[in-house]
């Protein structure tokens, strides 16, 4: 398969993802709205904590918390990926059969679809962000370098999380009770990514542990780039680490995929 073919395939599949979600825009908006509630809750809680502690907690002011969680909402839109438990549905309904008979790896189709859909979700995110901005009034003055770094970092963060969840989904080929493991990983992600709270507010051992897992590179890193807490050199280094994680996880997926698919028995479809 040539690079040119793959590029054209990504563009076409990305367009399909875009068209499908723009077609059902009411449902897409409801979906995006659902994902915005979680950061809005954390925002309210940590603003309250910061206010009650005289305005600063863990190096974050009330305004910095506000900026952190409002940028969080956009990062969340970008790092949404194919859910690991959706593999069970694919297998049970026989939907995987048609994907396996296509000449392109299902990963490319899913990745391109989600990438295309990001543009619709970002459009749907704008009114939600506007309401949050008017309500909470964040202080956000990113430089051009930070804006450019953020654009790269959210796409790279999407790649890291997408490959990670795809790899996790492979568990479904070995057990029908993968949900327990998925829940455990989501709980770990919540605590080790900056999703619940900026990592600087976590105990030292949690901050140390977060260096050994990929979660923070899909959540906290892009956010900190946007709110100006990382210098240009740190942005470049961080993007490099994101690429390393995405590549490493991709290599693991390439190793697991043929072993997983050998265990697959077609059902229906």
């Amino acid at each position: 398969m040539s690079i040119g073919f793959l590029r054209d395939y990504y563009v076409a599949a990305g367009r399909i993802g875009f068209q499908r979600d723009i077609q059902y825009r009411a449902a897409t908006f409801v979906n995006v709205l659902g994902f915005m509630i979680e950061p809005a809750i954390y925002l309210v809680v940590w603003r309250t904590v910061a206010t009650e502690q005289g305005g600063v907690v863990g190096g974050y002011t009330v305004d910095a918390f506000t900026a952190y969680y409002i940028v969080w909402t956009l990062v969340r839109v970008f790092n949404l990926a194919f859910a690991p438990n959706a593999w069970e549905w694919r297998i049970r309904r026989g939907r995987l059969n048609e994907m396996l008979s296509a000449p392109v790896h299902p990963f490319h189709r899913d990745f391109a679809y989600f990438a295309g859909a990001k543009f619709v979700w970002t459009l749907m995110w704008i009114p939600v962000a506007a309401v949050l901005t008017v309500t909470f009034r964040p202080t956000l003055h990113p430089t051009l370098v930070q804006v450019l770094g953020f654009v790269v970092a959210i796409w790279a963060g999407f790649a890291v999380r997408f490959v990670l969840l795809y790899l996790l989904g492979m568990i479904t080929f070995w057990t029908t009770r993968g949900q327990a493991i998925f829940d455990l990983v989501v709980a770990a992600e919540l605590l080790l990514s900056g999703r619940l709270v900026p990592l600087s507010l976590m105990p030292d051992w949690v901050q140390t542990a977060s260096n050994f897992v990929p979660f923070r590179w899909a959540f906290q890193f892009p956010i900190e780039v946007a709110i100006g807490r990382i210098e240009p050199l740190g942005i470049l280094t961080g993007i490099g680490i994101q690429i390393l994680w995405a590549t490493g996880l991709g290599a693991a997926l390439a190793w697991v995929w043929p072993r997983a698919i050998r265990r697959y028995t077609a059902v229906g479809g």
Binding site: Y24, A26, A27, T28, V30, N31, L33, G34, F35, M36, I37, E38, A40, I41, V44, V45, T48, V49, E52, Q53, V57, G58, T135, F136, R177, Q179, A180, D183, L184, A187, L190, L191, L196, V197, L201, M202, P203
Partner: protein, 264 residues
């Protein structure tokens, strides 16, 4: 032939669902593990918050534990009794198989509300009750007989409120395709109840009090456990419960008129 009473119909469906799930006993341990992970994550969140402050909007750690316990209990009610039925309703509308429920000689709202139960999720109700007792002991030592009765009344009100909101929300599927996202949105909104609604800014607090009344469903029962309540909030919880039960019934009756069947 005399139709079955609503209660008897619900019990029969529940027994069938229970027998179905009892075939898969390992699922109990899987669910127990998942519930413990969720509970642990919630406790860590509270610990992190209170490692930086002594009070959150006037709520102590023990009082917030009560909120979390009630949230877990009602979440268990939703996942055991409400969400499975609503998911089936949404699927039936898309696939055109709702006709099978509508043509039965029983009330349609009752039929769509008692067909599916996910009994292992009931673990959350038990764990949540345990957390509520733990919080009650930590705050007061004992909430007494009056407090216990008041708690049982408001937690039942909470269950009726969440059922009513879920039912009203899911009737949107009669008007738009892909109503499946509505359940995700409702789950997301329910997460807001994990923290006392008094923390939220004005318009959001009003929405969570009167539009989707998590204030009455979650915060008021937690206030009873942590002795922060007065009689009027219990009375208001009962009024809101009746209003939402009646309102969701009206929305259901109006929405069902839009259903014309699809392919069954």
């Amino acid at each position: 032939m005399k139709p079955l009473s609503p209660w008897r119909l619900a019990v029969i469906h529940f027994r069938v669902a229970a027998l179905n799930e009892l075939q898969y006993r390992l699922n109990f341990f899987v669910q127990l593990f998942q519930s413990i992970v969720a509970l642990g994550t919630g406790l860590v969140a509270i610990l992190v918050v209170y490692s930086h402050t002594d009070s959150l909007g006037g709520w102590s750690a023990s009082q917030l534990l009560a909120v979390m316990g009630v949230h877990l209990m009602l979440g268990g009610v939703i996942r055991t009794f409400v969400a499975p039925n609503m998911r089936r309703l949404l699927e039936d509308v898309v696939e055109g198989t709702l006709d099978y429920a509508l043509t039965r000689p029983a009330d349609a709202q009752l039929m769509v509300s008692v067909r599916e139960f996910s009994i292992w999720n009931g673990i959350d109700i038990v764990l949540g009750a345990g957390v509520v007792v733990w919080a009650g002991v930590a705050v007061e030592g004992s909430i007494g007989l009056v407090g216990t009765v008041a708690f049982l009344v408001v937690i039942c009100c909470g269950a009726v409120i969440v059922y009513s909101v879920w039912l009203a929300g899911c009737t949107v599927t009669f008007r738009i395709i892909r109503g499946d996202y509505v359940l995700q949105l409702l789950d997301g909104i329910y997460e807001a109840g994990r923290w006392p609604v008094t923390l939220y800014p004005g318009w959001l607090r009003m929405s969570l009090t009167f539009l989707i009344p998590l204030a009455f469903a979650v915060t008021v029962p937690a206030e009873v456990v942590s002795s922060r309540f007065d009689g009027s909030s219990i009375l208001w919880a009962m009024v809101i419960t009746v209003a939402f039960a009646f309102g969701s019934r009206q929305i259901w009756l109006r929405s069902i008129r839009h259903y014309s069947g699809a392919s069954a």
